[in-house]
Amino acid sequence: MNQLSVQHLLGIKHLNASDIELIFNTADHFKEVINRPIKKVPSLRDITIANLFFENSTRTKLSFELAEKRLSADVINFSASGSSVSKGETLIDTANNILSMKVDLIVMRHPHVGACDFLSKNVDARIVNAGDGTHEHPTQALLDSYSIREKLENVKGKNVVIVGDILHSRVALSNIYALQLQGANVKVCGPKSLIPTHIESLGVEVEPNLKKALEWCDVANMLRVQNERMAINYFPSTREYTQLFGVNKDLLDSLSKKIVIMHPGPINRGVEITSDVADADQSIILNQVENGVAVRMAVIYLLAQQIER
């Protein structure tokens, strides 16, 4: 297959295993491109992309923008703060106004679950979900799996534990779908109050003990505690959270094997992981960021390929 089975990237849930393989194979070529003296290809020179960010973002926004520019697309950026959204404009109106300026593809982050799905049904453009509320963050999951594939050669059969705030994490859900699609085994670990009920129905096991989870896994994906999404207290104190679910160098060294540490960022140093773990040689956090550009280039390239002239 050399074409995606979908027209929009709304979530990993809509992809199949060969889509992921195609994205990764294409990303391999783009990773070579972004390491050249001139890191740009002219493929998308007649495509215009709008980045609509209705929620704060640093890494994802920069990564998407760089990916688009490396493909030679024209890029316009939009942030909800300081825009007409605060004057009461609806999402469809905002998007359609932007599309009137001849935009072909929209990359959107939105605080509400399903916003990208809704937009894809109501406007005439390809949509890439850059995170919708606590639902999915497909490109993050793709770059996470791509980084595992790069470090361990294969995702299939690997044991991956996702640690932390699973309840509020779109990264966790997208990762669970992506890893399972590629044949990895997934466990989640965190305070019971931050593990969604019925998560077992996704085929993942809950391991409440961090040490046991780390002993089992090949890769630990450490998530941030999303205080901004918490209306109530889910655990007594940050100190207690760190003691039970934070990874430090002593804990890593006490394991019988060397595991890979990942983090989607931004890191709360000293909470979910300590500084020496974040900077250790078994941490691939900065590789994830580099791979993010290549993977997003692949996703945008493959979706743009389907846009009719």
């Binding site: 294409t26 070529h29 050249r36 003296p37 290809v41 998308l44 002239r309």
Partner: protein
């Protein structure tokens, strides 16, 4: 009574051999000598095989230069032009990218592009753009095994050529290599 002939037989009948293994071998040796004539010890020259099918020809020439003419340390790269093509979003079936391997600097080097068939010239146009991402070459030459005359869309001509052929647009020139297809041969196929 050709409507009685089964499809596959018709296909075989419509395939004409243009070059045999022996003829290809003679041509490759001649091309290698022509390269030596212009580039002597290849210290300032890099060979670039155009993906996907030009890489076999490039490797063959490198082997001849190394084994027969004892020119060692030839710099050989592979260049994929997929992202530089001018028909993105214009094809029914998208083209899949191939690997680019250029582990050296092309700045101020004499670059020789190597491809199997020169047809419209559009691939070479894309390659000329693509190579700029690796620096500014001093000079670029083009070596092809088969030059399809009178079919160019762009003003591009080969510097070194194996065989010039006149084929009509419906016909396809097919180059096969021992390492990929199990045989060295060039066919003209009637589609």
């Amino acid at each position: 009574m050709y409507f009685c002939i089964p499809n596959n037989v018709w296909e075989l009948m419509s395939q004409k051999i243009l070059l045999s293994a022996k003829e290809i071998d003679i041509i490759l040796n001649r091309l290698a000598c022509q390269l030596i004539e212009n580039h002597t010890d290849f210290s300032e020259t890099v060979l670039i095989g155009i993906q996907p099918r030009g890489t076999y020809l490039a490797e063959r020439l490198r082997d001849i230069l190394q084994n027969i003419y004892e020119i060692n340390d030839i710099q050989l790269g592979q260049l994929d032009i997929t992202f530089y093509r001018d028909d993105f979003r214009r094809r029914e079936i998208p083209i899949e990218a191939n690997k680019t391997t250029i582990d050296f600097i092309v700045e101020n080097k004499n670059v020789v592009f190597i491809d199997d068939v020169l047809y419209s010239g559009r691939s070479i146009r894309a390659a000329l753009t693509a190579i700029q991402s690796f620096g500014r070459p001093l000079e670029i030459e083009l070596l092809v095994l088969i030059d399809r005359r009178f079919s160019r869309h762009l003003p591009i001509q080969p510097t070194y050529l194996g065989r010039q052929v006149d084929v009509i647009n419906e016909e396809k020139v097919l180059v096969q290599w021992q390492e990929k297809d199990g045989i060295d041969a060039v066919y003209i196929q009637n589609n």
